[in-house]
Amino acid sequence: MLRITARSLASAMRSTMIPTSSRVAAVRSLHGTEESAEEFDKRYEKYFSREGIDAWEIRKGMNDLLGMDLVPSPKIIEAGLRASRRVNDIALAIRWLEGCKDKCGDQKATLYPYLLEKITPTLQELGVPTLEELGYDKPELALKSVYDA
């Protein structure tokens, strides 16, 4: 009885362990190369510029980027804006601008004007208003309390 159980356990272990270990090895080997900042920028620019990218993928890329400890470079922001244009979602473009502004953190006074200066031509070309033009740099509406709804 015990032997049968042990053998079935062992075979089960083998079938689950072997693919796992090879997968781990594949991931570990990736640690060897470090991506430079330029390569990173290029990778995301390419990601957003891909023909036929859909809204789901754009949001995934943007959410990933805005979750990282970095401020997206103007090139990436522009690529993101153009991607939003291709899927005809201006709300997405504005949210993306807001997210990028928020990533400047406590350096908003210096970094945000620089970003804005770099991306202004694209904004004008696409017809996306800046957050200041929309008044979205300050709170516009208060949230209604759930107890009043």
């Binding site: 009885m1 159980t5 809204a55 789901w56 949001r59 995934k60 943007m62 959410n63 805005l66 979750g67 244009r85 005809n88 979602d89 201006i90 709300a91 997405l92 504005i94 949210r95 807001e98 997210g99 502004k101 928020d102 696409l126 017809g127 996306v128 208003p129 957050l131 033009e133 929309l134 979205y136 740099d137 300050k138 709170p139 516009e140 509406l141 208060a142 949230l143």
Partner: protein, 182 residues
């Protein structure tokens, strides 16, 4: 054999529980599809659920905030064309159809800290009153040994008994000259 029996029993129990729990019972329940109405799913939500929340660290939630109506559909049709032709009002309407709050609104203070500070101070004041009243009506007087005369006598006794002469208090007492060491 015994293992298989236990396994079967567990499975049977699980199967018996299934219909009772609507969340497990229906696929739509698991993915919150029964709650989003006609809202469009546009992205990947937390744990893959089609949920909406305004978060700064994950600014693009899985569903649009509002269900599409005729007005928004008309705007969406207009959005397909040149964005320069959209007025700021229309852009804001489109934004609010997709999102509930702007990030500036999410980060705006709620002023709730004042409530917490106020309640905290109320409790602090109550604690102070309790301490005062306890001292007035509950506790006895301090023992006589707390007055200066008794404290001096205590110190003299410690020195006379040479308590803790190596590292303690009397190590600082000069017994030859009967005064404190410098």
């Amino acid at each position: 054999m015994a293992l298989r029996l236990i396994n079967n029993a567990v499975l049977r129990q699980l199967a018996a529980q299934l219909p009772k729990n609507a969340q497990i019972g229906s696929v739509a329940g698991i993915h919150t599809l029964d709650k989003i109405g006609k809202r469009e799913i546009v992205g990947f939500g937390w744990n893959g659920t089609a949920c909406y929340a305004d978060r700064v660290d994950y600014p693009l939630p899985a569903v649009r905030f509002r269900e599409p109506n005729n007005e928004i559909n008309a705007l969406r049709a207009k959005e397909q064309g040149d964005w320069k032709k959209l007025s700021h009002q229309e852009i804001k309407a489109l934004y609010r159809a997709s999102f509930c709050q702007t990030i500036a609104e999410v980060q705006a203070g709620t002023g709730e800290w004042k409530l917490h500070l106020g309640v905290g101070l109320l409790f602090t004041a109550a604690a102070i009153w309790v301490a005062v009243l306890m001292n007035l009506f509950v506790y006895d007087e301090l023992p006589v040994t707390f007055d200066e005369e008794h404290q001096k006598a205590q110190l003299k006794r410690i020195i006379d008994l040479e308590i803790n002469p190596v590292t303690g208090l009397t190590s600082k007492w000069d017994y030859e000259n009967n005064k404190w060491k410098n």
